[in-house]
C-alpha cells in the first residue's frame, strides 16, 4: 500500500514535471511567435503604408496633361504658361516617382524614371520651338510613349504591391493563428497543472492524515478531533487496545500482527457511523469519537460490536486462542473537554488491561473520582518522606514452638495530612507505578535498621523489597551502606522478596547471591499467591519461606490447604529453609501450622503491627534474654493492649485480637 502510494506520487511528480516542461516550451514558443507576429505586422504596415500605384497613375496623367497642353498650344487652346506649369508638375515626378516598393528596388520603376528624365530633357530642349507643329508633334509623341510605359508600370506595380501585401497578410494571419494556438495550449496546460497540483496537495494531505496500514485516520488526524468536537453536546470517546499484541507479534510474526490490525480497521469502519470518528493512534491503540444524541450508548454498542467481531478473527494459532480487546470509554454531556475525556478513556482502558483484558470499562463518575484520588496520592507520595508522613510498624514473627518472638517485620505506614491513614495495599502499588518506591524503600530500610539497632541482638528485622528496588544497580551497595551506617550486622537483616519481583528481574539470582554474601537473609514472601513455582525454590536459595495467609487461613476449612502447607514445609526442610506461616489469627490455626511443620508464625494471634515505641515495650515486657519465654497469662498481656495502636489498621476490618496468645 505504501509502495503503491509512493509509486503513484512519483508518477504524479513526473506528470507535473512534464506539464511544467511543456508550459515552459510553449511559453518560449509563444514568445517567439509573438515577436514574429509583431514583425509581420510591421511588414504589413510598411507594405501598405504607401501606394506606389497611385503615384504611377498620377505620373501617367501628368505626362498626358503636358502632351495635351502642347497640343492645345498649337491649336491656340492653351498658353505657354500652362505648358510651363504642366512641365514643372511633370518634372516634380522625377523626384517623387517611387523606385522602390516596400523598401525593395523596383527595376521597372527605375527604368521608367530614367525614361521620364530623358524625355523631360528632350521636352525642355524643344520648348523654345514648341510653337512649331513638327516640334510639338515630336514632343507629344514622345510624351505619349512615356505615358504608356508609366501606365504599364502602374498596372505591374499594382500586382507586385498586392502580392507583397498579400504575403505579409498571409504570414501575419498564420502567425496569429499559431500564437492563438500556443496561448490556448498554454492556458489549457496551465489549467491542467493547477488541477494536478491541487489534487496532489489534497492527496498528500489525505496521506498525511491516513494510517497506511489500516487506511484509518492516523494520529495526526486524531489531533484535529478537538476542533471537530467543538459545539457537540454529547461526546463519547473510546480507547481500544489489542490485548497481548506484543505476544501475538512475537509468536505469530509481525505479518500476522499487521493482518490483525488491518482486520480490526475494517471492523471499526463497519461499526461506526458516518458522523463518528475512528483513528489509529498507536501501534495497537485506536480511538473512537461519537458526538450528538446518545453518544455514550452508541460508543458502548460500537465497542461491544467491535469486541465481538474481533473475537471471531482467527489468529491461526495452534492453540486456537482468540484475540481480545481492552476498551475504555468516557462520555460527557458537554461539561468536559474532549482532551479530558480521552485521558479518562485511556485510564479506563488501562483499568480494563489491569483487570486482565477482554473487557470494556466505562469511566464513570466513581471511576474518575477514584482515578483522581489515585493521581493525588501518587503526587503526594513524592513528598511524604520529606514531610515525615511515613512511619514504620513492626509485627513479631513468633517461634510456634517456643512462642517467642524471633523477628519483626517492618511495615510501612503513611499518615496523609488530609486523607488520614492510607492503606499500604493502596499506596504501595501507586509508588511502584511512579517509581517513588525506590526512595521509599531506602527510607524503610534505614528506619527499620535504626530501630532494630536498639533491640536485643538475637532479634532480626524483616524488610520488604519491591521489584523496582531489586532492579536498581546500586541496591546491594545501598543495603551494605545502610547496615554499616546503623551499626547492624547483616545477619540481623532479612529481606523479603516476592516471587513477582524475581520474575521481573532477569539478574535476580546474582543480586540474591550478592546479598547472601553480605550475610543478609532472604525470605520468599507471599509464597503461594503467585506462580508458586517449585522451580524458584530450586533456582534461588532462601533462608525463609513465608506462606501466604490465604493458604493459612483456610487450613481449617479445606483439607487441601493443609496438605499444601505440609508439602511446602517438607520442601523447605529439604532446602534447609525455615517456614513462616502468615495470618495466624486463632489458636486452632496456630496448632495446625505447628502440626504441618511450620517453624514460625505471624498474625494477630500474637500481635498486631506496633509502633517502634510499642515494639520496644513489647520486647521489654516479654523479656528478651536467654530463656525468658513470652508465655504469659492473658491477664498480663492485657497490659500491652492498653497501649493503643497509633493508627487504625487499613483495609478490611480485622478483629482486634489478643496481642499475644497464652497457650499455657
Amino acid at each position: 500500500m505504501t509502495s503503491s502510494g509512493s509509486g503513484q506520487s512519483r508518477g504524479a511528480r513526473w506528470f507535473v514535471a512534464a506539464l511544467l516542461a511543456a508550459t515552459a516550451a510553449l511559453a518560449f514558443l509563444a514568445m517567439e511567435t509573438s515577436v514574429q507576429t509583431d514583425n509581420y505586422h510591421r511588414g504589413l504596415l510598411d507594405a501598405s503604408s504607401y501606394n506606389a500605384t497611385f503615384d504611377y497613375a498620377r505620373a501617367q496623367l501628368e505626362t498626358e496633361r503636358l502632351a495635351r497642353s502642347i497640343e492645345g498650344y498649337a491649336a491656340g487652346r492653351a498658353t505657354q504658361a500652362q505648358i510651363a506649369t504642366d512641365f514643372d508638375i511633370l518634372r516634380t515626378r522625377l523626384d517623387t516617382l517611387p523606385v522602390t516598393i516596400t523598401g525593395r528596388p523596383f527595376r521597372d520603376a527605375v527604368a521608367a524614371r530614367d525614361d521620364l528624365s530623358q524625355a523631360c530633357d528632350e521636352i525642355e530642349a524643344m520648348l523654345p520651338t514648341i510653337a512649331d507643329p513638327a516640334s510639338a508633334g515630336h514632343a507629344v509623341a514622345r510624351l505619349d510613349e512615356v505615358a504608356r510605359s508609366i501606365s504599364r508600370l502602374a498596372t505591374v506595380a499594382n500586382a507586385v504591391q498586392g502580392d507583397i501585401v498579400a504575403g505579409w497578410r498571409q504570414r501575419l494571419s498564420d502567425s496569429l493563428a499559431d500564437l492563438g494556438l500556443h496561448l490556448r495550449l498554454l492556458c489549457g496546460i496551465g489549467l491542467l497543472l493547477v488541477v494536478v497540483l491541487i489534487q496532489q496537495k489534497l492527496h498528500f494531505r489525505r496521506r498525511a492524515l491516513t494510517d497506511p496500514l489500516t487506511g484509518l485516520p492516523n494520529r495526526a488526524s486524531f489531533r484535529q478531533w478537538p476542533q471537530r468536537a467543538v459545539g457537540a453536546n454529547e461526546i463519547a470517546v473510546a480507547i481500544v487496545d489489542v490485548d497481548l499484541f506484543k505476544e501475538i507479534n512475537d509468536s505469530c510474526g509481525h505479518q500476522s500482527g499487521d493482518r490483525l490490525l488491518i482486520g480490526l480497521g475494517a471492523i471499526f469502519r463497519g461499526a461506526v457511523g458516518r458522523r463518528d470518528k475512528v483513528a489509529r493512534i498507536g501501534g495497537d491503540e485506536f480511538a473512537l469519537m461519537f458526538t450528538g444524541r446518545g453518544a455514550l450508548e452508541r460508543a458502548s454498542e460500537a465497542a461491544a460490536l467491535v469486541t465481538r467481531r474481533f473475537g471471531q478473527q482467527d489468529l491461526g494459532l495452534a492453540d486456537d486462542r482468540r484475540p481480545t480487546l481492552s476498551v475504555g470509554i468516557a462520555a460527557s454531556n458537554g461539561e468536559r473537554q474532549l482532551e479530558a475525556l480521552l485521558i479518562d478513556a485511556d485510564s479506563a482502558m488501562y483499568a480494563a488491561k489491569k483487570a486482565g483484558g477482554a473487557c470494556i470499562v466505562t469511566a464513570s463518575e466513581d471511576f474518575r473520582r477514584d482515578l483522581e484520588f489515585r493521581r493525588r496520592l501518587q503526587r503526594d507520595i513524592l513528598h511524604a518522606s520529606q514531610r515525615n508522613e511515613f512511619d514504620l510498624a513492626f509485627q513479631p514473627i513468633v517461634d510456634v514452638g517456643e512462642l517467642r518472638a524471633h523477628s519483626f517485620e517492618a511495615l510501612l505506614r503513611w499518615q496523609h495530612p488530609e486523607l488520614g491513614r492510607i492503606p499500604p495495599d493502596l499506596f504501595i502499588p501507586l509508588a511502584e507505578e511512579s517509581g517513588a518506591i525506590i526512595e521509599i524503600g531506602r527510607f524503610v530500610l534505614d528506619r527499620a535498621l535504626s530501630i532494630a539497632a536498639n533491640w536485643p541482638a538475637q532479634l532480626t528485622v524483616s524488610v520488604n523489597v519491591s521489584a523496582l528496588q531489586l532492579s536498581e544497580k546500586s541496591f546491594v551497595r545501598m543495603v551494605r551502606e545502610t547496615l554499616k551506617r546503623n551499626g547492624v550486622p547483616a545477619s540481623r537483616l532479612i529481606l523479603e522478596i516476592t516471587e513477582t519481583a524475581l520474575i521481573k528481574n532477569a539478574n535476580a539470582g546474582k543480586i540474591l547471591d550478592d546479598l547472601r554474601r553480605l550475610g543478609v537473609g532472604i525470605a520468599l514472601d507471599d509464597f503461594g499467591t503467585g506462580y508458586a513455582s517449585m522451580g524458584y525454590l530450586q533456582q534461588y536459595r532462601f533462608d525463609k519461606i513465608k506462606i501466604d495467609k490465604s493458604f493459612v487461613s483456610t487450613m481449617n476449612e479445606e483439607g487441601k490447604s493443609a496438605a499444601i502447607v505440609r508439602a511446602i514445609c517438607a520442601l523447605a526442610k529439604e532446602i534447609s529453609a525455615t517456614v513462616v506461616a502468615e495470618g495466624i489469627e486463632t489458636e486452632e490455626l496456630l496448632s495446625l501450622v505447628g502440626a504441618a511443620g511450620c517453624d514460625f508464625g505471624q498474625g494477630y494471634l500474637f500481635a498486631r503491627p506496633m509502633s517502634a515505641l510499642q515494639t520496644a515495650l513489647f520486647i521489654e515486657k516479654n523479656g528478651w534474654g536467654g530463656v525468658a519465654t513470652p508465655r504469659r497469662p492473658a491477664g498480663e498481656m492485657a497490659e500491652l493492649t492498653v497501649v493503643p495502636e497509633a493508627w487504625p489498621m487499613p483495609g478490611p476490618a480485622k478483629a482486634p485480637g489478643p496481642r499475644l496468645k497464652s497457650v499455657s
Binding site: 504596415l45 501606394n51 505657354q80 504658361a81 510651363a84 506649369t85 516634380t92 517611387p98
Partner: protein
C-alpha cells in the same frame, strides 16, 4: 540647355500674366510673389508669398521621405502657427496642389502630425519643378505612426491653395 527654365518661365509669366488659366497665373518660383491662397468655403481670404511664410516662426527638421533618396532637411512655418496667423479657426482643410491633387484633412490630424508648410529644401526655396512652391511636410523620422497612407497622402507637394472648412 540653351534657355534656362527660369528665363522661360519668367517670359511666360510676363506674357501670360493676365491669362485666365487659374493656377498658373504668376511665376511660382519668385519668393516675393503670392503663391499660397487661403480660402474659406470657396471665398478668397488671403494670399501668402513664400517671403510671408518665411517671416513666420520657422520649424526645420531633417527626415527621410518616400520621395527622396536620403535624409533631406525641410524648413517652414508650422501649420498650426500658420493657421493661428490666418486667425480663422477650422476643423478641416481642403488642400489643393498645382497638379489638381486635392485632399481633405482634419486640422487636428495634421497639427498632431507636426505638419509644416515647407518652403525650403536643404536651405533653398523649393522650385516648382521640384515640389515647390509649398510642400506640406511631416517629420516622418520622428514618429513611426506617420509612416502611413494617412499622412503620406497629406504630404502635398506643389501646394497652392488651402480652403478652410
Amino acid at each position: 540647355m540653351a534657355i534656362s527654365r527660369r528665363t522661360f518661365i519668367s517670359g511666360c509669366a510676363l506674357t501670360f500674366l493676365s491669362a485666365n488659366v487659374g493656377h498658373a497665373a504668376v511665376d511660382l518660383d519668385d519668393p516675393a510673389l503670392p503663391v499660397l491662397k487661403v480660402m474659406r468655403g470657396g471665398a478668397p481670404l488671403a494670399s501668402f508669398s513664400r517671403m510671408d511664410l518665411a517671416a513666420m516662426p520657422q520649424t526645420a527638421f531633417e527626415t527621410k521621405t518616400p520621395w527622396n533618396d536620403g535624409p533631406t532637411s525641410y524648413e517652414g512655418p508650422l501649420l498650426a502657427d500658420f493657421l493661428a496667423h490666418v486667425g480663422a479657426n477650422a476643423t478641416q482643410l481642403r488642400l489643393l496642389a498645382l497638379n489638381d491633387y486635392l485632399v481633405l484633412a482634419d486640422v487636428a490630424l495634421l497639427v498632431d502630425g507636426g505638419a509644416i508648410l515647407a518652403i525650403k529644401e536643404d536651405g533653398d526655396f523649393l522650385p516648382t519643378a521640384r515640389k515647390g512652391p509649398v510642400f506640406m511636410m511631416f517629420p516622418f523620422d520622428s514618429d513611426r505612426r506617420l509612416h502611413s497612407q494617412q499622412f503620406y497622402s497629406r504630404a502635398v507637394w506643389q501646394l497652392i491653395e488651402i480652403d478652410l472648412q
